[in-house]
């Protein structure tokens, strides 16, 4: 059994290190610091931590003001509140003036679990990638998360980082090289390309194993940056394999699946199957049960891959 770490845990730990290295880094939270793990930063750098209370809209615009005077604010809350409640503050006070604010949103997707559909953000990627100038990171594991946090601090401008509540396998080694906007080929293949993001990357690797046993050679592409999207890598994968499957813990409307569909229809039309939440809200349950319930497992990806392959001319 590989080691499992939630990406929010990795965020909290990296934030402490980043704060030690860069005194301009400040952190804001909206009364969820123990859940988002910014609590670790508060303990280590109390003068640069601001609990803004349960007022997410104000928190985002305050972060904009901090950025306007040279700080590098990381603002954290659950993804559903960050991108839903505070959408217009992110749009008008952060993205429109291209201010240097990092939004690290945790508890994205259905693996929030028992809290249910009100708290399970399945549309945040769609919302954030529609904003001009926004960088969108969806890390797949703890290593990618730490690297994305570092990269976010280096980028001059708004960044959205999507993080999860539940433990996920560590896929990358210490030597992993995270380049913003550059997708990572985790497995070579020739029959179908599985393009995955976030916690679905490990499921994609598992699906590729299953498919290999059936004689289907599946490539796995880890798209940790949804925006700017690695169009070149996606088109190349489609050209090489002739069939594509996308996998995300997000609605199939507006997220990775949509972004890939847009890209392929313009540049390299091939049969495409999207694995994701199918235009419905989440509900209470254990994370593993919910992944099963909403069709977000390795088995679902493998099935989608068989379908995509069967549609090849």
């Amino acid at each position: 059994m590989t080691k499992k770490i939630a990406t929010r845990e990795a965020y909290g730990q990296e934030l402490v290190r980043l704060g030690a290295d860069n005194k301009d880094v400040v952190v804001l939270d909206a009364d969820l610091s123990k859940s988002t793990k910014t609590h670790d930063f508060m303990k280590n750098h109390p003068d640069r931590f601001f609990n803004m209370g349960i007022a997410e809209g104000n928190m985002m615009a305050v972060a904009a003001g901090l950025a306007a005077v040279g700080k590098i604010p990381f603002a954290s809350t659950f993804a559903v509140f960050a991108t839903g409640r505070a959408f217009e503050q992110i749009r008008n006070s952060i993205c429109y003036p291209r201010l240097n604010v990092k939004i690290a949103a945790t508890h994205a997707g259905v693996t929030v679990g028992e809290d249910g559909g009100s708290h399970q953000s399945i549309e945040d990627i769609a919302i954030m990638r529609s904003l001009p100038g926004m960088t969108v990171f969806v890390p797949a594991d703890a290593v990618e998360t730490a690297a994305a946090i570092r990269a976010a601090a280096e980028i001059k401008g708004p960044v959205y980082i999507r993080l999860g509540r539940s433990g996920v396998p560590v896929l990358h080694g210490e030597d992993f090289n995270f380049i913003p906007g550059e997708a990572v080929t985790l497995r070579e293949g020739t029959d179908v390309a599985i393009i995955a993001t976030g916690i679905m990357v490990s499921a994609a690797l598992e699906a590729a194993e299953t498919l290999a046993a059936e004689g289907i050679s599946a490539m796995v592409l880890d798209v940790h940056t949804i925006k700017p999207l690695d169009i070149f890598a996606i088109v190349e994968a489609a050209r090489k394999c002739g069939a594509v499957v996308t996998a995300e813990e997000h609605s199939i409307i507006g997220g990775l699946g949509s972004a890939v569909a847009e890209t392929l229809s313009e540049h390299q039309p091939v049969p495409l199957q999207r694995v994701g939440v199918r235009d419905t809200f989440g509900e209470s349950g254990k994370p593993a049960e919910l992944l099963q319930h909403f069709g977000l497992t390795a088995a679902n990806i493998a099935e989608a891959a068989r379908k995509a392959v069967s549609k090849k001319k």
Binding site: V26, D47, R48, F50, M52, G53, A55, G57, N58, M60, A61, V62, A63, A64, G65, L66, A67, A68, V69, G70, K71, P73, E88, Q89, N92, S93, Y96, P97, R98
Partner: protein
């Protein structure tokens, strides 16, 4: 003191003339709330704030956030008078390619500290600026100008709560209380009174003044500077459209530009 007040009043009049001229040229925009804030803005830009038009990014400068962003003409006029942009550029207001957007855009025009226009957000940004500047131990001050209708936005009170909580005594907010918003009198559309008690309840120091009395404006700013461990709000009773007889206290002049003959008449009154 008398001379200073005379000069600031003259400056406010010049700002008002610019507002009329640029709105007439633009053919759209918001004269009423720009004119009501002209005296406050004159005091801040020509007496109170440390600014250097030659170095708009000078870190030691004070910050001004126009939270009621639709009053952009009053800000542009003050910036032009101060030397941040050529006076003649005011005539590009709201035109394609202009640095003078319909609502202030900090990416386009130096001297604009925050992009505003979506009501309620500027005051939050000002809170963030005050927090950040204090963290660095600087003595810069942050000034925000809000509308009275804007106080209907819940975010204003989220920001007020945070500023009181963090005891931001380097933050001063002006509330331009002209009692008119697009749909009618503020107390008819959605009453915001009592504003003084509301701000006090959010742990602010509250000063109430006549927003067209220059001596009162300067005295209130002095009092705000002397107030420790609390942000200060200066609730300024004003007249929407102040300085132009046919615009004064008329709701119709919230968001309509004057026609050429009206520009002429207004400029005569402001001569």
């Amino acid at each position: 003191m008398d001379e200073k007040i005379t000069n600031l009043k003259e400056r406010a009049k010049a700002i008002r003339r610019h507002i009329i001229t640029m709105l007439g040229e633009a053919g759209s925009g918001h004269p009423g709330g720009s004119l009501s804030a002209a005296d406050i803005v004159s005091a801040l830009f020509f007496d109170t704030m440390k600014l250097d038009p030659e170095k708009p990014d000078w870190p030691g400068r004070d910050r001004f956030v126009l939270s009621k962003g639709h009053a952009a003409p009053v800000l542009y006029a003050a910036l032009a008078e101060k030397g941040f942009l050529p006076i003649e550029e005011l005539l590009t207001l709201r035109k394609l390619g202009s640095r003078l957007q319909g609502h202030p855009d900090m990416k386009k025009l130096p001297g604009v500290e925050m992009s505003t226009g979506s009501l309620g957000q500027g005051i939050s940004a000002a809170v963030g600026m005050a927090m950040g500047l204090r963290l660095d131990g600087g003595d810069q001050r942050v000034y925000a100008l809000l509308g009275d209708g804007e106080a209907q936005e819940g975010q204003v009170w989220e920001a007020a709560m945070a500023a009181g909580h963090f005891k931001l005594d380097n933050l001063t907010a002006f509330l331009d209380y002209n009692n008119l918003q697009i749909d009618g009198p503020v107390d008819v559309v959605m009453n915001v009174a009592p504003l003084n008690d509301k701000w006090r309840a959010f742990n602010w120091h509250v000063i109430e003044i006549d927003g067209h009395d220059m001596a009162q404006i300067l005295k209130a700013i002095e009092e705000a500077h002397a107030t420790k461990s609390k942000p200060t709000v200066i609730i300024a009773k004003t007249i929407k459209g102040k300085g132009v007889s046919f615009m004064e206290d008329q709701v119709g002049w919230h968001g309509n530009a004057p026609k050429p003959e009206q520009v002429e008449q207004a400029l005569k009154e402001l001569a």
